[in-house]
């Protein structure tokens, strides 16, 4: 190609598209674009890889906790252990031991003791509650299905290397043989572990569940929502629709943005000093947790609400004002309803953030060991992230998988909340 082949106007400006310099230039630009694409793709792949590794470790660990080994047993309730006049006071430890010795008739006393340990500590109370509900069972058999204790649960799930030296295991060869015998009799089953979400915390991993933590988190989020949502919208409406544009409102705006970036532990310290210290509110109550989380969520909601209000076109306001509506009528009758989907989306994302927050809750004592579900927001309880924190620090093997399972439950709630936010946005948001 020669210079004369090019159109006249390009020739006149002196561009030589075919010159080696121009070609090199084009090649360089293409190359740098390719590099950018590869780097971008690489970044995304890396992020996905990290996420994949995280999920894989959580699921591979946590899936163990989604099943719990149970034992089905016929328990004879003998009158010598349980007094029919006062069935609640009976010696149910003995009742369980008697049931096990019936299953293993040739075991001596010390062996029988070890045999009772196959069952979770809960077994005696399960029998007690059945007998108390129906005292006619004394002298008869009760059929129970209860979890087995943690070491045997690990054994049933194949987490114990039975070929290793005996002193490196929690269970001796005899104990393993006993358990295998029960398995052969078909008394061992591994149903889905509903206790993980229907039971309260316990010191025994086989009994521990997240119910108290889920309810505690729900209460805390409810309080957080009740406080931060109206306050956030109020602040946003004032700042966006009524506040004069001057230096003061600029200062407020900058500070709200700063507040959104304050580390959550600072809010925890504030809550410890103010809510617990000055106001004397109870330690570990979801109500206080909710207040603390509300402080944290408020800036997020204000910013989201302001952006949503800003996105409503001025023509709507002008039209309403034009037909004689007052400023208040304009805001509550037209602007706010149109901005609501955006506000809700921001609120839900703020609440999802609050749900995963741990540090401030640790400071106000929401990391206690509580074996009951909180009946009101003022009863001490844990929250999901603090429950994970407690379990992660427990020595029992069963808590390792339960920690991962609890993280998966928390992630499940977060995904649900974010999905709800996306749904609301897609369904109701209007574009102008």
């Amino acid at each position: 190609m020669t210079q004369t082949d090019l159109p006249a106007d390009l020739q006149s400006r002196g561009h030589d598209w075919a010159s080696p310099r121009a070609r090199a230039n084009v090649a360089r630009r293409r190359r740098s674009e390719t590099v950018l694409r590869v780097v971008g793709l690489g970044a995304i792949l890396l992020a996905f890889l990290m996420l994949g590794i995280l999920l894989w470790t959580l699921i591979s660990q946590g899936s163990l906790a989604f099943r719990q080994t149970h034992i089905t047993l016929n328990v004879p309730v003998a009158a010598e252990h349980v007094d029919p006049a006062d069935p609640a006071k009976g010696n149910y430890r003995r009742v369980i031991a008697a049931a096990m010795s019936e299953t293993f008739p040739e075991a001596d006393t010390t062996e029988q003791r070890a045999l009772s340990k196959i069952l979770s500590n809960q077994a005696q109370f399960v029998v007690r509650d059945k007998v108390v509900a129906d005292p006619g069972l004394i002298g008869n058999e009760v059929r129970i299905r209860v979890p087995v204790s943690d070491p045997y649960d690990q054994l049933a799930k194949g987490q114990v290397d039975t070929t290793s030296a005996a002193e490196t295991r929690r269970l001796s060869d005899v104990e393993i043989a006993n358990f295998r015998a029960l398995e052969e009799q078909g008394l061992i089953s591994k149903p889905l572990n509903w206790a993980l979400v229907t039971a309260n915390d316990s010191r025994f991993p086989e009994l521990a569940g997240l119910k108290g933590a889920i309810v505690g988190s729900a209460y805390a989020l409810l309080i957080c929502f009740l406080i931060s949502f109206p306050l956030g919208i109020g602040a946003a409406i004032y700042l966006e629709e009524f506040a004069p544009r001057n230096r003061l409102s600029d200062v407020i705006e900058v500070n709200i943005n700063n507040l959104a970036a304050v580390p959550s532990i600072v809010f925890g310290l504030l809550a410890l000093a103010v809510f617990l210290g000055w106001f004397g509110m109870p330690r570990g109550a979801p109500f206080v947790g909710g207040l603390t989380l509300a402080l944290m969520t408020l800036p997020t909601i204000i910013i989201a609400a302001r952006n949503a209000l800003k996105a409503v076109p001025p023509s709507i306001r002008e039209a309403a004002l034009g037909v004689g509506a007052s400023k208040q009528q304009v805001v509550f009758g037209h602007v706010l309803p149109l901005a609501m989907p955006g506000i809700l989306t921001g609120t839900i994302i703020g609440l999802a953030q609050a749900l995963g927050e741990t540090a401030p809750l640790l400071l106000i004592g929401m990391n206690a060991f509580v074996t009951s579900t909180p009946a009101t927001p003022f009863d001490a309880s844990t929250a999901l992230p603090t429950q994970i924190f407690i379990w992660a620090d427990s020595p029992e093997r069963g808590f390792t998988s339960r920690t991962s399972a609890a993280i998966l439950v928390l992630l499940g709630f977060l995904v649900m909340m974010n999905a709800l936010a996306i749904f609301l946005r897609n369904r109701f948001e209007r574009r102008w």
Partner: protein, 348 residues
């Protein structure tokens, strides 16, 4: 309409919060993370046995627990605190100042402190306390002088020890486990060294050991690994040359991955901790406000359940969890003291 709803719910929240602090039917417990699992066990057992509401047990650390416990008398203050060491004079004074004058002390048993390493390491670890001190202290004696710790490998201390880097993961200074380790291992190890005895004598200072042997080295071989003992266990699995310091219950639960380091030839086991032949064991206490007993529902019953035979005896359910039980005489005395609510007095 919407605004009405919001106003009403906001008012309801405020009204509820006003009544929140009014009544408490649950026992409140704070304190050491080492006593926490035992208190947990008693709390759960107590609630299961009696049907009373389960006490709320919070793990705040020994020092933090004392601060909250000594805050005052009344429903907003906890009833009981656990401690992995005895109450200090300063804490006792704080209690007195705030009107918490009638406190009973209960020594519930002992807890072993273990040093352990990965099973992947072939070495049959057997250390003396003096060697542990030489490996971990900030300053060690060389030629009659205290110098910054020069040892980087175990073989630098004693040629019979393995030729590997010293890597020991342990608790941070805020932890009660750290306090106990310094007192039981570092001070005792320090005193076993002849050179130290000479230096200490020359200084004429009776507290020389406490003042000079308490600091752990900060130049790398000793790594503060945070309060979470499970993290230390995981680190040991991935690094076979490292050793870790943590409560005995974590070694007990992870015997398939870890093996205990023998101290003076004694392996950490429930039996050796109980008979005192394993040197690293510390006392565990709880403190209870006698003024709250009889006022807070079930507190008196709970405290008695805590010191009862089926909890504290050597075949009790706390022993199952790793607590090393008291002797029979000590236990009887404890039960009497608790029953009669004998107040404790701490003078030093």
């Amino acid at each position: 309409m919407t605004r009405m709803k919001i106003t009403v719910s906001a008012l309801a929240v405020v009204a509820l919060s006003a009544t929140a602090a009014a009544a408490r039917d649950q026992i409140r417990i704070v304190g050491s993370s080492t006593v926490f699992p035992y208190t947990q066990a008693v709390a759960e057992e107590f609630s299961n046995q009696t049907g009373a509401p389960a006490p709320i047990v919070e793990s705040t650390g020994t020092g933090g627990g004392m601060q909250i416990f000594c805050g005052g008398i009344g429903e907003q203050h906890p009833d009981l605190t656990g401690a992995s060491r005895r109450m200090k004079k300063s804490e006792y004074d704080l209690c007195q100042q705030n009107g918490v004058t009638d406190v009973s002390e209960a020594l519930i048993g002992y807890d072993g402190l273990s040093i352990a390493g990965s099973r992947a390491n072939e070495t049959d670890w057997n250390l003396t306390l003096a060697q542990i001190f030489q490996a971990l202290a900030a300053e060690v004696p060389v030629d009659g002088q205290m110098v910054p710790n020069p040892h980087t490998k175990w073989s630098d201390i004693d040629p019979s020890l393995p030729d590997t880097e010293i890597i020991v993961l342990g608790p941070p200074p805020t932890s009660g486990t750290r306090d106990a380790f310094v007192e039981l291992a570092m001070h005792a190890g320090c005193e076993q060294i002849d050179e130290i005895a000479t230096i200490a004598e020359e200084s004429g200072n009776e507290d020389w050991v406490a003042e000079n042997c308490s600091r752990m080295r900060t130049d790398g071989p000793f790594i503060e690994a945070g309060e979470n003992d499970n993290l230390i266990v995981q680190r040991l699995e991935s690094d076979p040359n490292a050793l870790g310091i943590f409560g005995y219950s974590f070694l007990f639960e992870n015997m398939d991955k870890l093996k205990g380091v023998k101290i003076d030839g004694v392996e950490p086991q429930t039996e050796t901790i109980a008979d005192g032949s394993y040197p690293l064991s510390r006392p565990l206490y709880f403190y209870v406000k006698n003024a709250h007993r009889g006022v807070i529902p079930n507190l008196d019953e709970f405290v008695n359940a805590y010191v009862a035979e089926d909890a504290l005896a050597s075949d009790g359910y706390l022993a199952e969890r790793g607590l090393v039980a008291l002797g029979d005489d000590e236990r009887t005395k404890l039960q009497d003291d608790i029953q009669s609510a004998t107040p404790v007095e701490i003078t030093e």
